[in-house]
Every structure is written in C-alpha cells, then in structure tokens.
C-alpha cells in the first residue's frame, strides 16, 4: 500500500515539475514578447529623418515606448552608442512610402523586448499612414477598437496548461496498465491463475479500473490547486468525466496491446505510438479533446461541447466492453 502511494507521489511530483517548468517558460516568453506585462519597463526610441514627427505621434500611443526626437541621424547614432536610447528609427520618404531603418542593439534579452516595442510602434505608424491614404485603398482598414489591458497568460492557462495537466495523468495511467499486465506475463505469475478463484478478466479488470481511476483523481487535485491559486475553473464535473473517459480509453489500449504482445518492450512502444496517434488524430478533428477542455474550463462551453463529452464517455464504455470481451477470449495459462 505504501509502495503504491509512493508511486503516486512520484507521479504527482513529475507532473508538478512539468507544469511548473512550462509555466515558467511561458511567463518568461510572454514577458519577453509583451514588455507591458513587466512593470515599468520602457524602451527609449530615438527617432530621426523626414517622417520623424509622424513616428513620434505613433510612438506616443504605444505603451512602453518612449520616443526621443533627433534632428540628424548622426545625433541619434551617437545617443545610441552612448546608451541613451535603446533603438534608432531613421525614416526616409521614397516613392510615396516611409522607409524605416531600425537599429537595435545586438545584446541579450533586452533585444527581444526592444524589437517588440519597435514593431508595435511601426505597426501603429503603418496604421495611421494607411488611414491617411484610405481613399487610394479599395477597402479602407477598420478602425482599431480600444481594449482593456488583460493578462497575457489568460489564454495560455486554459488552452495549454490545463489540458496538459489533465491529460498527462491519462497517458501515464495507460502506461501503468501496460507495465502491470506485461509484468504478470514476464514473471509468469499468471500460472497461479490455475489455482486461484479468479479469472483473467477479473485481474485485468482490476488493473484497468485502478489505473483509470487514478487519472480523474489526479485531475481533480489539479483543478483544486488551480482554483486555490486563483484560476477560475468552470464545469469541473464535465472535465472530470472527460478525463475519466480518456483514461479508460488509454488503459483499454494498454490492456489490448499488452495482451497481443505479452512483452513490455513492444507493448510500451505500440502503446506510446498508439496514444500519440489517437491524440494527434483527435486534436486535428473537430471534437478535439484539448479544445473541449479549454472551453469547459474557461466557461464558454455550449451544449455541443457537453454533447462531445457525452460522446467520449459513450466511446469509453463501448471500448471497455470490447476490452472485456477480448480478455475473456484469451486463455491466460497459454500465454
């Protein structure tokens, strides 16, 4: 009992590690790409050349970019070399266009931040210029509506982190079933069945349900942890039902390949590839489980999403029946 608990603890630690690392990764990347999310970080942009005033106006409406006007390119270059500005935008009017030469320091993390700010500033300039020329355009661009500042992590949490946390236990539970079934074959312990009042179906059933039951339990734990951490989770029951269905499907696949191959190496290989294949296929299909999880958890699910969950549960029930029937036809003592 203690041994299996230790295994669960280890499983939880691994998942926590993965989740922590991917969150760390995203927080780092997002703060690189969206410097506005890092507090009080401003990029000083030196602006020079013919269209400098237009550029200054554009830069003023971009948060995080502070334009500094220079009369000559050389003055801007000197300020750049003296580290008074983080980037130079030198403008040039040619053939009715504004040509911008952006010089950014080839340094480190700041380069990414600077380039992002430069891009935002120039996109704003582009937008304004397009408006000025809108009569030459067949379809004038739409005015950009204002939007409130929002957390850049919001979408990621629901579309990547939560699906990752919910499906990882599913994959692992199937792998566990493969391990425990093939181990019986390899150790030859199924021989004992001849004298035991148990059938192979009973044993495999127990292994399958134990492993498949573990996944929703872990998923529930993650949902609680996330809620405590301030991430609102909607529709937890439907989420857990989906995870349970997925776990039964994965464990069913595990039982199936183990019975067919009766050897761990092949079984694990086939199981991993099979799960990858099924998951990739499902993700590309319109009923992508990842998307279903995201929509359920974020709270924008409609009846169709619920129907998809019901569909997966039904599929899992059918698959479970199929695996039971298949196990019943295998003669345990012959393998």
């Amino acid at each position: 009992m203690l041994r299996s608990e230790k295994t669960i603890v280890l499983a939880l630690l691994i998942q926590l590690f993965i989740a922590a690392f991917s969150s760390f990764l995203v927080v780092g990347l997002v703060s690189l790409y969206d410097p506005g999310s890092a507090e009080g970080y401003e990029v000083d942009v030196g602006v020079s050349g013919e269209a400098r005033y237009e550029l200054v106006y554009a830069a003023h409406s971009v948060s995080g970019a502070q334009p500094i006007l220079f009369d000559t390119e050389r003055a801007a270059q000197q300020a750049f070399d003296r580290r008074q500005v983080d980037a130079i935008l030198h403008t040039d009017r040619r053939d009715g266009r504004i040509h911008v030469t952006a010089t950014v320091p080839d340094e480190n993390v700041r380069t990414t931040v600077t380039v992002t700010q430069v891009r935002d500033t120039l996109r704003e300039l582009e937008r304004r210029e397009r408006f000025e020329r809108s009569e030459s355009l067949s379809t004038p661009p739409l005015e950009l509506p204002d939007a409130p500042a929002s957390s850049p992590y919001h979408g990621f949490t629901y579309t990547a982190l939560i699906p990752l946390l919910l499906f990882l236990p599913v994959f692992i539970s199937g792998s566990l079933v493969v391990d425990s079934v093939t181990e019986e074959f390899e150790r030859g312990t199924l021989e004992l069945l001849r004298v035991a009042p148990l059938s192979l179906t009973d044993i495999v059933d127990g292994k399958l349900l134990a492993a498949a039951g573990l996944a929703p339990a872990q998923a529930a734990l993650w949902l609680v942890v996330l809620s405590v951490n301030g991430t609102a989770i909607f529709a937890p029951l439907r989420l857990l039902a989906l995870v349970a269905a997925m776990a039964v499907l994965a464990a069913g696949l595990g039982v199936f390949v183990s019975l067919v191959t009766a050897e761990r190496r092949t079984a694990q290989l086939l199981y991993s590839l099979g799960v990858l294949l099924a998951f990739a296929g499902a993700t590309l299909s319109p009923v992508s489980p990842t998307n279903v999880v995201a929509r359920l958890a974020i709270g924008s699910a409609d009846a169709a999403v619920t129907l998809v969950v019901v569909g997966y549960v039904a599929l899992a029930v059918v698959a479970y029946g199929g695996v039971r029937a298949a196990v019943g036809r295998v003669d345990a003592t012959s393998v």
């Binding site: 295994t7 580290r83 340094e107 990414t112 582009e126 181990e183 390899e186 590839l273």
Partner: protein, 635 residues
Amino acid sequence: MSGSPPLPERLADGLRDAFARLVDWTRKTLRVARWETSRTADVFDRKTAGAALLAATLVGLFSVAALSTGGAGVALDENIYRVGIAPDSPYYDAVEESQPLAVHPPDESALRDGEIDALVSGNEIEHADSDRSRAAAAATRSAVQTYNDRRMLSEENRTAAYPVVVEIRYATRGDVSTRRGTSGESESAASTDSTADGASSASDSESSSAGSSDQQSGDGAAVADTGDDDSDGALAVPDIGGGGALFGGQSSGSPADIAPPFPFGSLVLAFAFLVPVNFVIQSYGSTMLNERINRRGELLLVAPLSPTSIVAGKTLPYALAILGVTTLIAVLVGGGPLSVAAVFPLALAYLAATFVGAMFARSFKELTFVTVALSVFITTYAFVPAIFTDVTPIALISPLTLVVRDLQGAAVSAGEYAFATGSFYFGSGVLFLLGVGVYREEDLFTQRAVPLKFLDALDSRLSGKRSVALLSALFIPFVFVAELLTVAVLFALPIQLSLPLLLASIAAVEEFAKSIHVYAGFAKNRFERSVSTAVVLGTFSAVGFFVGEKATAIIQLVDLPELALGEAAFATSGIPEVGATGALGLLFAPLLLHVVTASLTAIGASKNRLLYAASLVVAVAVHTFYNLAVVVAVA
C-alpha cells in the same frame, strides 16, 4: 627469474598485454551486442514492427500537417471567447473569421449574465469585470488587427497598403569602444552634439561608422536570419500569411513581419531529434530490467564476461540505433555533422540515466516512473535553454543550442562544443560507472528500495578512504548541471531576489554532493564510526571536490561570466578576479570552507540519518553565509 628484463621490454610487454585485453574485451562486448540485437529482432516480429512503423509515420504526418497549416489545424483555442456582435457591424467579418472568437447575438443582458464575454457596439468593445471578459476584448482587438493585415494583402495599390517599409539592423555597442568614445567625447559632446562641427567629432563619427560597417557582414547574416525566421514564423503563427514571398523582391517588409529573435522553426526541428530518443530508451530500460526478472541475467553473469562488457554490449545496439536515427533526422531537416555530434552526448545521458534507473527499479511500473521523470528532466534541461539561443550565452548549457545554431547556419567553436556537451559526456560516464557497480548478483536479483540501491551503488565505488576524494571529484559534472540549471531558472528573476536564492541552492547542491557518498560508506559500515575517521573522510571529500571544482575554470573560456548571475555562481568557486593581495586568501578560503563543512556533515553521517540531515542543514547554512560574504566582499 634472473633479474628483470630491461625497462623498454617490460613496457612493450605491458602494452601488448593491455592491447590483448582490450581486443578480448571488445570482442566479448561485440558478441553481447550481437546477441542483444538478434534477441530484440526476435521480439519485434514483422507484424509489430510494421504496426509501429505505420503509427510512427502517421504521427509524423499529423505533426507535419499541423505545422504546415500554420497551427491553424490544431484548434487549441477555437471558440474559447464568445463575442456578441450584430451582423451589420463592420467588425463582423473580423470576429467571424477569428479562431478564438465565437459569434453570438449582441445582447447587453447576456454580457451581464456572463452568457457572452464581450460585446461590440459601434466602435467600442464592452466587457464585463472578469479576466475572461477582458481577455475576450483584447482578443477581439487583435482579431481586427489581423483582419486589417489580411485585407491589405489583396490591395492593388501596394504603396497605400504598405506605406511603411522596415529594415532591421542588429548592431553591437561594444563595451570598450563605447567607453573610449564617451571619454574622448566628453568635452566635445556638450558643444558639438547639435551642430556637429569640429574635426574630433567628425573623426569620431567616422570611426563609429567604420565600426558599424565592420558589423555589416554580421548584419547581413542577421538580416538573412530574420528572413529565415519569418518563413519559420509563418509556420507557427498564421499572422499574415506568406510574408516574404508576397512582397516580391523586397528584402525588407511591413512592420507586421518583424519577428523578434526567436528561433521557433529551428527549435521545433531540434525537438524532433529528442522524440525518437525517448522511444529507444524505453526499449533499453525494458531489456535492462528484463535481465533482472526471474534471474534471467544469471547466465550472462556466470559467463566469462566482465560486467562492463555485458553492459557495454547491451548498450551498444541502442546507442548505434540512436546515432542512426539522429543522422537520418539530421539529413532530413538539413542539419550537419554538428547536429549529430551535439545530440549524441544528450542521447548518452538518456541511456546512462535509464540504465541506472533500470538497475534501481523494482518493477516495470517503477521503471516507467523513473524513465518518465528522467526524460522530462533531461528534455527540459536541454530544451528550455535552447529557446534562448539568440538571447543569452547561458543557452549554451544545452547541447540543443548547438543544434539550433547548426540549423541556423551559425558557427560553433570547439570551446563552445566542449562547454555544452562536456558535462553530458562526463555525467553519462559517471552514471554508467555507478550502474555497473551494482551489476552483480546481490543487487541485480534482490528487491530493495531505490534509495538503498543508490547507497549500494555509491558504496560499491568506495574502496579506501582516498576513494572518497575521487568520488567527490566525479560528482562535479552533476553539481555543475544542477548549478547551471538553477542559474537558468533564476536568471529571469530580479537580481536582489535571485542572488540569495542562487547562493543558497548552490550551497545545498555542493554540500549534498560532498557528503552523500560519505554517508553511504558509513551506512554500509565501510568506515569506522568515529569522529576522527569522519574528519579524515570529510577532508578527503573536500579536497577532491575542491580539485574537481577547479575544472569549472573552463567556464572562464566561454563568456558565461558576462552574466551577472554566472559571475556570482562561479566567482565563489574560487577563481578570484580581485587584486593580487586577496587572491591567495580567496584561493584557500574555499578549500578551508569545504573542509569545515564536509567534516561537519561527515560527523553527522557517522551517527545516523537524522543527524546527517541536521548536519547537512547546518553545513548549507554555513556555506550560504560564506558565499554571501564573498559576493559582498567582491562587490
């Protein structure tokens, strides 16, 4: 027996002997390898191999399909926000075409009730007071922006559609030249800045322009690079389809095409190298553990083979398989020999870690957890730093960074290769050594808890008191990896917070590495449990560690210490950059520190587990305090 033969003869004899033994060992190893290969071929019959190949091909096809549609096929965020919008709104098409947005009828009360997340009315986006609602509004705004960009693609009037053309240049502001420039300029700068007269400032600007033209060659590469990234970026972000091709011959493009330096495409390809490795180690772990089930490995053990040749023979086919697959992938994705050379040590580390895992695990289930944990750890360790390839030199702690650079066509120096892969080569070697130590009957076929096996493995490497020093030195690669990992994790935090954390974790890692094998020795009753023995062992361990730590001087060869954190992490390891007066003291201070803390933990270890843990805490505290003092003193 009449006097020994002359020295050259003896030497030649010895050499011949060693050579003969080597040939014998190689022959035996190859025989085991052949046997392992044929056995594996038996297991993987044609049907399973076919099924596996089919599944692998399909998975590959799926991923290629997902990537080539620009990730649009993988609808992770489809319809996650509900936006109320009237069909006659000018924004209707923008919202309708956007993947994360779902169109709903506009209704004020629905917004209040949370039935919809954002409401477009006129030129405004209304939203409720919730995170989801704000995110929905922001997503609507960016959907409009994307929509505008997309519509511009079909405009006839290119000048009006793309009124701004950008060329981006990456320029270095060299430390030395800038500093000289500033001091030389200081008197002229104030007066000439705006008017730019005077010979001195003219020559100054000339030198600076010469400097920038110097970088022109590098710039050209940088521009070409961003071009590459654009096409890669188009793979990932369906921002504005096509990009470069649609702009005809223009070398530079619209501001929307500016991609911050992020090697997305190369990273995905680098990841492709790791995927097959994970499958191979699963098989490898199985076959190693298989030997231990029902005493199957007994036959090999009693055969006239040494454990090393058994292990090497069983490992060889898998290492070769990885090498083959890696070469194949390198050919497919356009990587050179460098990619293969960079992935190989990584693969060795996977194999070594799996081997040790298979030696320690008691069941397949345990092995699965060990394998998953290891592959997650090694993958993140290799993958996360590689993301920052273009950003910071610390990315070089991962061999995958070399792969990314190779795919980008950038050069890698021998020193950089050694730095990125050195700890992997050494680390794998040490892991194999530890694993071979328990490749013996009493450990292979017994069921023992993993920590006990670990202590066994350590103990099997101990012989006399001096071997403690050797083992301490052997741990250096792991200490190194752990410390680099902490630096990599902490470098994103502000330095006030990260520095103390870093110093404390480094102290913990080092103290653990200096004491765990001493504890193993005591636990296995290899050493006499007395304070004097403990002090002797502690001293040996400290000296071994200190000497090994000097290997971190390699750090100085690459420019890692440019990072403030890197400096803090490795300055305390006793490579003083201060004046000559303090140098000697700083060289011996760490040795003294190591001796004191290692003796402390050794005394704790000689009593029992609880006291060992307690003494470890004290030692870490002392070490942290010392580190802080050094950093403060150096600063």
